[in-house]
């Protein structure tokens, strides 16, 4: 597991006097599911934005997919996928049109794209719904589709920002099956979540409190370290120390 795909050291983001992200350092390995946890306002989103090239770090260095986050933001963007908590699908476009749009945005050639669209539709078992408007789909389907759209260009890393908000446990479970299948193919998954049961599905977890990473290890090691029954207890122990409120 020595093949690092994200490597960050001393990454800091300051907004005026407020230090949103305070010297965080970590590595993410190729093909793993990396859980990025923390309470609201802990700095998860800011850290993730810096990794995606949306925000410029105040201090620190890092590479994502082998590119420097300071100077090679555009190259990073080509090699990552991103799914926001609001799914980012266009309601008035059909399933197929949504996939094709993002494929086009990532500069995929026509032939390559149409093969990929078929492949994704097949995997989702969406073939007969390919011409349905996204607005007519149930939430769980939209979520899976959003994930597929984020991986349409076969990126090395997919960033998922609280991808499972507002869906029922069964759908969440199915969604995680999809994530695991994608990771098994060698795609690295970087996911933020609020659900501690989901944290158990991750290979490794980092816990952010007040802009700093307070713990980073596999779920079982973390449970041991904090002498806890489950991830929920680990989270409570760490989050209790938080000074910041929302």
């Amino acid at each position: 597991m020595a093949d690092t795909i994200i490597s960050v050291s001393g990454l800091t983001k300051q907004f005026g006097a407020f230090v949103a992200v305070d010297h965080i350092s970590f590595d993410v390995y190729r093909g793993e599911i990396f859980g990025f946890l923390g309470a609201n306002g802990a700095g998860k989103t800011t850290a993730m934005r810096m990794l995606c090239g949306l925000s410029y770090p105040t201090a620190g260095t890092g590479t994502v997919a082998g590119f420097d986050i300071r100077s090679q933001g555009e190259l990073i963007k080509r090699n990552i996928g991103y799914m926001s908590q609001r799914f980012s699908l266009y309601d008035d476009l059909t399933v197929k049109e949504n996939i094709e749009l993002y494929g086009g945005i990532y500069g995929m050639a026509h032939k390559e794209l149409s093969e990929r669209v078929d492949e994704l539709l097949q995997r989702l078992q969406f073939i007969e719904h390919k011409d349905d408007l996204v607005s007519s789909l149930p939430l769980g389907w939209k979520q899976k589709l959003a994930f597929m759209v984020a991986t349409v260009h076969s990126p090395e890393i997919v960033f998922l920002d609280e991808p499972t908000g507002g869906v029922d446990p069964i759908t969440r479970r199915q969604f995680w099956d999809l994530i695991k299948a994608t990771a098994a193919e060698g795609t690295t998954i970087f996911v933020t979540t609020h659900y501690m049961d989901e944290a158990e599905f991750c290979d490794r977890i980092s816990m952010m409190v007040d802009g700093k990473i307070r713990a980073l290890d596999s779920p079982s090691n973390l449970r041991q370290q904090f002498n806890a029954q489950n991830m929920e207890q680990v989270f409570y122990r760490l989050a209790r120390e938080a000074q910041r409120t929302e």
């Binding site: 963007k77 609001r86 699908l89 008035d92 094709e100 749009l101 086009g104 990532y106 500069g107």
Partner: protein, 348 residues
């Protein structure tokens, strides 16, 4: 380029699938043009005029027959002097012409509609002074628009208004909608350049605007009988420049507004109102107080109205409007640079 085309395609789908909005966008110009052209009118059309005659002379007879024959005046006969007030009050006539014993002529107007009576007064004066070897006291010449047709004034104004409405407002709302939906975030993470997102949004609205431009010009030429004296390429060039200006204005607002509601308010209150008031469309610029007059210099529609009037009504070519044209061009470039900069700034 591939990315740009898929994006333009997506924008077109948005517009085509939203049939109701598209119909509104296509019909608004028709409705506004007809409304301003016919309903809201300060022009002379079918004004009833009576006369009071104290002494018949050949001059008087000639004047009366001039009134009778004028297509825009309906002559309603001779009345007694003491009936003037009653006739005007009852609304039977809008104006009475009095021929005095000494050869003097007076025009009495029903001034309850001030703008109409003012133009009626000058129009009647113009008729009465027509063909006179020595024009009598009031000599008013009205060039280009002797009938004081309001369409001459309103049509350029409407073109200015509609493009702000459709280009600025629609582009702006469509960008801000993506912010609200959260799709903008995903676009920013994608490798597509912000400039391309912006340009792709402009393309379909540019097409719609060109359709609207054709509708307005055809309507105003064939239905409102608005002349197009200048040459067509100059006119179209001017309009396309103004459309581009409106589109960039919409983009600039979209970088400032976070919700569709705010975007609508900014477009309606900050752009439309001053545009209608200060562009010379409703009120003559010459009558504005000095402070407001200064403000009109930064309102694009003011320059556009001036230029398009010169081209359509006065028949000037590009040489006649180079000043307005270059001001509009400079504004477009400045606005575009500003909105691209704002757009990129969001990435921090």
């Amino acid at each position: 380029m591939n990315a740009f085309i898929s994006f333009v395609k997506k924008e077109c789908i948005h517009i085509l699938r939203d049939v109701r909005t598209m119909m509104i966008v296509l019909l608004i110009p028709v409705i506004l043009t007809l409304l301003f052209g016919f309903a809201i009118s300060t022009e002379i059309n079918d004004i009833s005029v009576a006369v009071v005659v104290n002494k018949y002379t050949p001059d008087v007879r000639r004047d009366i027959s001039a009134l009778e024959q004028n297509p825009y005046i309906s002559y309603s006969g001779i009345i007694e002097e003491h009936d003037i007030d009653a006739v005007l009050r009852s609304g039977k006539c809008a104006a009475v012409v009095m021929f005095g014993r000494d050869g003097k002529r007076n025009v009495v107007l029903d001034a309850s509609n001030s703008s109409l009576s003012a133009s009626a007064g000058s129009y009647i004066t113009a008729i009465l002074n027509n063909d006179k070897p020595m024009p009598l006291p009031i000599a008013t010449y009205m060039r280009h628009n002797p009938q004081l047709k309001s369409a001459y004034n309103f049509v350029p104004g409407i073109i200015g208004l509609i493009f702000i409405l459709i280009c600025a407002l629609m582009t702006c709302v469509s960008v801000v909608r993506e912010k609200e939906m959260g799709t903008m975030e995903t676009l920013l993470v994608s490798p597509i350049r912000p400039v391309l997102v912006v340009l792709a949004k402009m393309v379909p609205y540019l097409c719609i605007s060109l359709v609207n431009l054709a509708t307005i010009l055809l309507l105003s030429h064939y239905v409102l009988e608005m002349p197009i004296h200048g040459n067509l390429p100059t006119l179209l060039g001017l309009c396309v420049l103004y459309i581009l200006l409106s589109l960039t204005l919409g983009l600039l607002v979209s970088t400032l507004a976070q919700t569709q509601m705010v975007a609508l308010l900014i477009c309606a209150m900050v752009m439309m109102m001053p545009m209608m008031m200060l562009s010379g469309m409703l009120f003559p610029l010459e009558n504005l107080p000095p402070v407001l007059k200064q403000i009109t210099y930064v309102i694009p529609a003011r320059w556009f109205n001036e230029a398009i009037r010169k081209v359509m009504v006065e028949g000037m070519g590009i040489t006649g409007i180079w000043k307005e044209f270059s001001i509009l061009l400079a504004m477009t470039i400045a606005l575009f640079a500003a909105s691209i900069k704002k757009f990129n700034d969001r990435l921090e």
